[in-house]
Every structure is written in C-alpha cells, then in structure tokens.
Symmetry: C2
Subunit: 363 residues, 2 copies
C-alpha cells in the first residue's frame, strides 16, 4: 500500500469528560453526547468535519475498548479496522505511539492529524484551510506541528504555547509549553501576543513522531517498536492487549512536545472551545436570555436569575427562581446544582462519590 | 335507620394542594401522596386515625368526582355510598351542606365530624380524646364547634380564632374569626393567649348546621333543601350533578362560622401541621441534618447549604452546593428550585403556567 503523504485523521475518543458530569458519564462520556442540542454528538460533529474532505476510510478513532460499541453506533459505515482500542487508560502518549507505529509500518511518510473528539469549532472552513496548510508544512519539514489557538481571554484552565513571531511565515517554532498559569500570568501571556492556547491538535508525519518517541520517550518507544511485526495483522490486538498496560501513563505534551526541538505552531482563529466544562459551554452558548442565562431546556420558567447554565431533559419542566451564577443540570437520574465559580470541584465530588458502591451507577 | 348521636366522619378530600406543587398535581393532589415518606398517603393516615375508633362504615369522603377512583384505590373496602362526589369545585360550604342535608334526612341528631384529608397530627391520642370531648359537647348544645390549635409561632399563613377564656370550661364561645394577619398582628395574637389557629376541623349535629345554612346562607340552603326527597336514593347523584354548580363558591368559614352566634372552640395541642406548604413540611421534619436541611432524598450529597427543603425520587442522585433557604423538589417531570421565603408565589407561578397548553400536563 502506498498512501504517500496521504492524511490520516485520528480522533481521540477515549476521554471520560468528568468535568461535564452528570451529562457525561463513565459509561457514556461527553464526546458521545449531543451537548449542544444539535441532534449530533460532539464525536459525530468532529468526524463530519473531516469526512467531507478526507473521506471515511481515512478517519480513525482511538478509544478505550469499552467505547468501541458507542463509536460503531454513532459513526455509520466505519471500517472496524479504523477503531484503535486502548485496553487501559494511559493518557495520550501511548495511544498516539500505537497509532504512529501502526501507520509507520505501512507508510512512514503518512501524515497524521490528531484531534480531540469533543471540542467545538465554529469556523470550520478556516479550520480545514489551516489543517491543509499544516499538512503542506509537515510534508516538507521534519517537524511536529501543533495548532495554537489565539487566546481571547486570560483563561487559567488551559496550557499555553510560547512562540516567537518571525517576519515572513505563518508557522513558528515553539519556545516552550506552560501548563495552567495563574490569572496574572495568563493576563501577561495574552497581552504579550506571544502565547497561544494548546488545543491538543497535532499534525506530523508518522516517521517523525516515531523518531521523537525514540529520542525522548524510549520506554514507550520500546513497547511499541517490538510490535512492528504484528501491526496490521490479526495478531495486533492480542499484542496491544498484552503490552499496553505496561506503558507509562503520560500525555503527548509531557512525553514529547515539551522536549523535542522541532516543534512548530500554526496560530489559528477558528471559533474554538474545548467545551471542557459547564462554564465553557455557558461562555460559547449564543442564545442566552436577557439575564445571561444559557438555557438548554425546552420547558423552563426562570425568574430573578442571572448568568446560569441550565441543562434539562426535553420532557422536563424547570421552575427556577433566585439563582445567580449557578450550574443546574438535570440528567434524568442525577441532579446537579452547583455554583459556577466552583465547578472545578465537581471532579473531586465525583472521586468522593466513587468510593460508594450504591452510587457507582450515577457516575 | 336510627343512628342516634352516632358520629359520622367526613374527610374533605377535594383540594388540589397547589402550594405543594410539583409533588401535588391537579391529577394527583397532595392528600393522595406519601409526602412524609411513611409508605402511606396523608389521606390514608387521616382515615386510619378514625377507622380505629369509629369503624369503616362511618367514614365518608367528600371529594371532586375526578378523585373518586383515587380514593377507592387508596381506601380498602370503602362502601361506594361513602364517597360523596362534588361535580364542580365550590369550596367547602356547599360540599358540607350536601353532606349535612343527606345525613339530616336520615338522622337529624347525627353528629358530623369534618376534617381535612391532608393535615398532619402527631399527638393522635390527644386528638381523638379531644374529638370525643367535642362530640359530647355538641350532643348537649345546639352549637357549631371548631377545634382551635394553640399557636406556637406568629404564622401569617393561617386564619385565627379569637375566643375568650372563661374559668370553668374547656370549650369557649368564639368572638370572631380573622383571616391571615400581618406579622405584627400575628405576634400580638400569639402573645395575648386569646387566639387559636383555625384548622378547619368542625364538629356539630346535622340539624344544627342545616339550621345555620337556613339562617346565614339561604342561597345554598335552598339548593340543597330541594333535594330532600332524593338523598339516599338512586336519584341523588343526578340531582347533585344538576344543581351543584349553581351554588355560591364560598368557604364554610365565610358562609357560616363568621356569622353564626353559636360557634364554640375547643383549644387543642395535638402536634398539628396543615402541611400546607414546603415551609411547613420543613418546620415539622424531624430528622434534619446539622445545617437544618430537611432532606427527603435517598442519594444526596449536599454541602455549604442551610435550611433547605429537598425532596427527590428514590432513584435520583442529588448533588447540591451553596443553597441557603431554598426549596428543591424534583418530581420526575418537574424540577422546582425556589427561595423558601417566597414560596407563596408558587401558586401564582402555576396560574401563569396554566395558560400554556403545552405545560398543562406538568400542573
């Protein structure tokens, strides 16, 4: 097979979206849910962005094996071979290594486009145009490219990419990555014009990322390198099942991007939100009422309330008075009423509840 | 038939309990609900208080005809003749007149005990003992007797009975009735020791209340007097269906008690609550948590919250943070989140929603 320089899209679909609980559940996480009420899940919206341009056969899903049935259910006509299953949760580095080795074995020059399954992108045309630009760049450069989102506010929930603008290019070398900064630092970053949000969207050639694993994360490299004889054979799944859990549990950012010298970024303005939390959904929700309430609810009577994020089933009547800056999510068997400013605590609430057997099915 | 001086219990079961929405719905109102989580509805608890003493055959239910099936479902072995059906809602005066004329036709000396179906009484023995005392009194006096609850707080939601204590009696003439007073007035009432709460529990002989209708509410008297030939015959229901809607829409308090000269009250301390509102349920709920939250919910994780009244289905997980003095009621297809202090608005919210066809089934 010679797919020289052909682009392969890998949609990372294994997250559990715990900050979006209770809409997002372990058994049915965020990417599979129609969070925006558009009639399509975030996963379906993500896949559609690419199938139009790249065709169905070049779209891959990397996911935890538990979610394979959900992907087959939501993505029509997906070849079974295009679902790469993680037998254990080990963050993004090993699953990207797995995909890279597998592709490299067939087509070392093959281009990988790696994207999250659960983000929102409003300016789709611009996005695809930037992806094409990125493809051209990595074709001709031994580089690891990350899209960088031009920041619109000093958000403390994101990682930032520090880059230096040079005069005659769209694509720039990355100086460094920094994790979630404090508010003041984030404000300095935004003011400087030299920082971008790291959205976890990567473009590179298969052989270039495999090289990077060899150089910067040899433990993962060794695990997947030993499988070179079985990738794309019937023995592949058994091999992955056997070795995958031995991999370090680490993100691609920590494992590779913060260490490699050939990391570049392409700044983009694509109407992006990671929809990471109820707050971020509130931020991007367009049809708020006059009191800045974002109401995803068919039947609702809300008074004396401001700046709330409400989500309810279609067949439910919500009567709410006097809430300011609250998240109210009714998801059939769970009701969450939580101050918006403290939503980062929801993760730890889930950890607390997780210890209780009788509550397991709510999580 | 000669049931001389035998007591007949009339349980008023036609209310719609709108202040207890959304647990209480038009199709299935408060008295039919197990609001306290005891495994029995308020109606069943009310009936049981009396069946023990007076037997099944002397318990009557006066209700809107729509609720007849609910009564038959909840009260085992109830003779069909013991359910008196109102074909229209006309408040308490006409339904009591109907019951009184019907009994009077068989047994003018028969004693009527009229009680609401949806109140809580904790001191049941004391209650029954006071009822017996009241029966003895009305047997020997042409009087209309109302139980008066000794007030424990300056509640502005109740009507008050003004009476004068005389030295050598348990039972006193009523000076006047006053409707819901303001806070200061209520406080003066409580301090004076001369006021009792009107709990809508009445004891009198059939002929005495019929006489009172003749004297003070002739319009109602005339309607029901014309039916004297058909009561307790197979023509009764057709007659009531034809004339009932012509009756004035008025309470027994306004129609009779505020006018009659032979009204007496027996002050009682029986652990009473009208359970009229979520606030009153919160007040009487015994096992509140350390932050004074009354939590009728099997699975609940509530933090940084005080003085809330929460009611949820057994199979629902509630996660709540930061609510103070709130009512949170999840009742399957309706969620109510409302400031406790403003709960009297709920009735008018329902009126607003009532105009919308698509919401009708939530009410």
């Amino acid at each position: 097979m010679s797919n020289n320089n052909k682009a392969h899209i890998y949609i990372l679909s294994g997250g559990i979206g715990s900050r979006f609980w209770p809409k997002s559940r372990k058994q049915y996480p965020k990417q599979f849910i129609d969070i925006l009420g558009l009639g399509k899940s975030l996963l379906q919206l993500t896949a559609e962005r690419f199938t139009k341009i790249f065709g169905n056969e070049n779209i891959y899903f990397i996911t935890h094996k538990d979610y394979k049935p959900l992907i087959r259910q939501q993505i029509a006509d997906i070849p079974e071979a295009n679902i790469l299953c993680e037998p254990a949760r080990r963050n993004t580095a090993p699953c990207i290594a797995y995909a890279a080795f597998k592709l490299c074995q067939q087509d070392p020059e093959g281009i990988m486009i790696i994207v999250p399954s659960d983000h929102l992108i409003l300016k789709e045309e611009e996005y695809i145009s930037k992806i094409s630009e990125a493809i051209e760049f990595v074709k001709n450069n031994e580089s690891l490219l990350t899209l960088g989102i031009k920041p619109t506010r000093p958000d403390t929930g994101y990682g930032y990419i520090h880059y230096t603008q040079s005069a005659d290019a769209d694509i720039y070398p990355v100086v460094s990555f920094t994790e979630k900064p404090d508010k003041d630092t984030a404000q300095k970053y935004v003011n400087s014009g030299e920082y971008l949000w790291n959205a976890g969207m990567f473009i590179w050639k298969a052989k270039d990322i495999v090289d990077a694993f060899r150089n910067y994360e040899p433990e993962i490299y060794n695990i997947f390198e030993k499988g070179n004889d079985v990738y794309n054979t019937e023995d592949e799944a058994a091999y992955i099942d056997a070795v995958y859990q031995n991999s370090p549990d680490i993100s691609i950012d920590y494992a590779i991007l913060e260490k490699a010298g050939n990391v570049y970024t392409l700044p983009v303005d694509i109407g992006w939100s990671d929809l990471g939390t109820w707050n971020s959904l509130h931020d991007i929700y367009e049809s708020k009422d006059q009191d800045k309430n974002a109401l995803i609810a068919k039947h609702i009577y809300i008074t004396d309330s401001e700046n709330c994020m409400v989500s309810a089933p279609k067949n439910k009547l919500m009567v709410i008075k006097g809430l300011k800056d609250y998240i109210v999510v009714d998801d059939d068997d769970v009701l969450l009423i939580y101050p918006k400013k403290e939503e980062q605590e929801i993760k730890s609430v889930l950890k607390t509840l997780n210890g209780k057997t009788e509550l397991e099915h709510f999580l």
